[in-house]
Structures are given as structure tokens and as C-alpha cells.
Symmetry: C2
Subunit: 236 residues, 2 copies
């Protein structure tokens, strides 16, 4: 936990917060915080700063936050990501969120197993936990926004073309593409990442028809979470 | 398994190999290979190509390899990496190897727990397994080379300065550095990555004394495996 992420419900009086549960245990057992210590703190969707611990009680910590620094700038990248099996989903999500991505469209594709859409990681409370862990890791406060598209064709035909029009660069990794990743232009970027096993030829064609440029990510085939991280790094 | 990695011991006659164990089970149960199918194949430290399956027996597959393509070029980066707890070690290793790193110096540092040096992941057979998984993932045949330095000071004083002299760029991530990552020059690059919690001020000073430039990797703090992947992507 590089950041204590708080929200309005943590305030017990103006200028004073109380945190319990996981965050309290982190403060007490991992950080070994004591009264007088300062902890890097951020308000959900708000400013960053520090909190001074005024008391470590039995089951909660009392802190006084002073928040006056804006969060780090977001990544210019909107990610379009085929839904993956839950462990991989979590890794991709963590990588993308810690690198500042704020908008992800999770989509279906031929090689996405239908069962993935029933996974508990997509439930709001589990997803919120993953988001918090990522924001606490990277020191950001701004919650991302996700959209889910359980059908490939309506997404690429009806939604994607407009997202491409709104972007300065729109690309997806294609195993047989010759074009290398271009240097990132100023403005928004939209990137599509395929499922394990890749998009099908038909899906690749549909993405191209929607205005996305197929690019090669090099000769080496990376696991999805490393591929997405590498791609975001090169585009930042 | 994107590549069937073979070595000389797999040959049962000139031009014919037999694979058993994990690789056989992958061919039979995951890839569902049948006689006549071709499988991307690479010779340990040698050429890449395809193998044609001539028989799927009870406990082994018989294949005829035709290898005539060189492996992908290695990364120019030599990694100096503080030893991490075993799960993180495996993730960093996988990320670095699939991105083509061929030389890693694992080093001690103040925030490296001594017990990490006794971990079974450093034993030759476990390490060989991790290397194989990474080479099979990324489609490479060239084994990496690791060195272990269980004392920080002798490494940075006696070994690191020469490695820096042999490199066109030598850098390490520093939380208070102002210099951003420069564009990668042609030639060798050496990069040091700290332990969980970072290098100490003393260690940072020693790295600078050895000729390494402290750079900022941005405002966001990434988990080690994502940080190393992002760094390698930006330097490739």
C-alpha cells in the first residue's frame, strides 16, 4: 500500500478520518504506523497529500488528512481488451490501472470462453477491490471506467468506429502485421488486445474495417499481462 | 507452449526426435496434436523451424524437425536485479526472459531478505524449468546467463564499473530522480532494478559512483514485474 485511499464515508468529523478493516491492518501490521507518523493519502477521485496519524485504536486508525496535490495525469490510452480467464484478467487489469489507464472496454471474441462472463471477478465488490489495490499501488485516486460488450460484432460495427474517430492513433497487435508500433502522437490512443490465442482472421478484418491499424509487437510472443504492460509503456 | 524446445538428448536417430513428459502432455492434451501436424520447434541455443509429427505413442511423440531460422535477436539490456521473494522473482524472470534479456546479475541489497538466497527457485532444475517456460512462451532458443552476487558492495565496487564501461547506457530507477528515461542508444544497455521498498540512499549513491545514472520512471509506482517489463519495453 503506497497510498491510503480514502473516501467521504471515512470522515468522522470535518478534517478527521477513521479507517478500519484491511487498510487498518496494513497500517498496523505492515507499515507498523504509530501516532505522529504521516501516511501518503488520496481522496477517491480527488487530491493527494498526507495524513497524520493521531491515534491507533483497537480496530481503527484515526488520521488527519491534508490533501492538496492533483493525482498523476491519466494514460492517453483507452484499452479494448478481450475478456480473459480470471487470473489473467486480474493481472492485465492491475498492469493497465497502475499504468494510468482510465477507460477499458472488455469485449467478447471467438476465443473468449463464455464462462468468463460469469466470473466473480466481474462483480462490483471484487472489481472495486482490484481497483483499490491498483490505485494504492501506483499512488492514484481516479477510478477507471469499464464497459462490457458481450457481443463482438455490435461493438466493432456500432461503437468502435466512433472511438477510433475520437483518437489520434488506433491500433491492435496482429501476428502477421509488418508495421511496427509508431511513436505516440499527442492526443487519445485506442489499443485493442486480443484473447489468449489471438483474434481470428475475421475479427482482425473487422477491427481493420473499424479503422484500427494492425501493428507488429516484435517477433516474441508475450503473455497477455506482459504484452499489455509493454504496449502501454511504449505508448506513454 | 508456442515453441517445442528440444535439445540433443531428444534425438533417437539422425533427423528424428522423441519427446515425453510435460512436452508430450502439452502436445497431446493442450495442442491435441496428431500425426501429420507441424509444431513450431527450436533447438536449445540453436535454430528455429517446424517439426512434423510422425507418431503419437502411449507416452511419447515422434517428430521430424526441420530447423533453419535463427532465433530472434536478444535484448540489448543486461539486467542487474535485486533478489526478490520467490513469486516475484519468477514473474520478473519470466517478463525479462520473454522480452529477450540474456544476462541477469541477481544481487543482494539491504532490503533483500537473506532467506531469499536459500529459495528453491534458485536451484538448477527449478530455474531450468522457468527458463524453458519463458523460451517456449516467446519462441526463443537461446538460454540466458545468470550471475549471483550475495554481497552488494563487492559487486558495485569491483564488477559493476566495468559493466557500465562496456555499455552505451547505464541507469537505475530512483524515486527522487528528475531525469526521464532517455531514448535507447545503439549498443549495450545496463539497467539496475531495486528490491521491494527500493535501494537505500547508500545503495543509490554506490550505484551512482559505479557510473549508473538515476532516472525517474514517472510518478506512478509499479509492482516490480510490471516496472521491469515497462522499462525493457521502453529500452527496446
Amino acid at each position: 500500500m503506497n497510498l491510503l485511499l480514502i473516501d467521504n464515508s471515512d470522515f468522522i468529523s470535518p478534517g478527521t478520518i477513521a479507517v478500519s478493516g484491511r487498510r487498518f491492518l496494513q497500517l498496523r501490521d505492515i507499515i507498523k504506523a504509530a501516532p505522529g507518523d504521516t501516511i501518503r493519502t488520496g481522496m477517491k477521485n480527488g487530491m493527494l497529500g498526507i495524513s497524520t496519524i493521531t491515534a491507533m485504536e483497537e480496530e481503527r486508525a484515526i488520521l488527519q488528512p491534508e490533501l492538496n496535490t492533483p493525482p498523476p495525469p491519466p494514460s492517453p490510452v483507452t484499452l479494448v481488451c478481450a475478456l480473459q480467464r480470471p487470473p489473467t484478467f486480474k493481472k492485465i487489469l492491475h498492469g493497465a490501472l497502475t499504468m494510468g489507464v482510465k477507460k477499458i472496454h472488455f469485449i467478447h471474441a471467438a476465443k473468449v470462453e463464455k464462462s468468463y462472463w460469469q466470473s466473480s471477478v466481474l462483480r462490483e465488490n471484487e472489481l472495486d477491490h482490484e481497483i483499490r489495490l491498483a490505485l494504492e499501488q501506483c499512488g492514484d485516486t481516479v477510478y477507471p471506467d469499464f464497459e462490457y460488450h458481450t457481443k463482438f460484432k455490435p461493438f466493432v460495427e456500432d461503437i468502435l468506429p466512433q472511438l477510433v474517430k475520437d483518437s489520434a492513433l488506433a491500433l491492435f497487435g496482429h501476428p502477421r502485421a509488418q508495421t511496427p508500433l509508431p511513436p505516440p502522437p499527442p492526443g487519445k490512443i485506442i489499443v485493442a488486445a486480443g484473447p489468449e490465442g489471438g483474434f481470428t482472421d475475421y475479427e482482425n478484418m473487422m477491427l481493420e474495417n473499424a479503422g484500427m491499424t494492425p501493428v507488429t509487437l516484435g517477433q516474441r510472443v508475450l503473455r497477455s499481462e506482459y504484452a499489455v504492460t509493454a504496449l502501454l509503456a511504449k505508448l506513454s
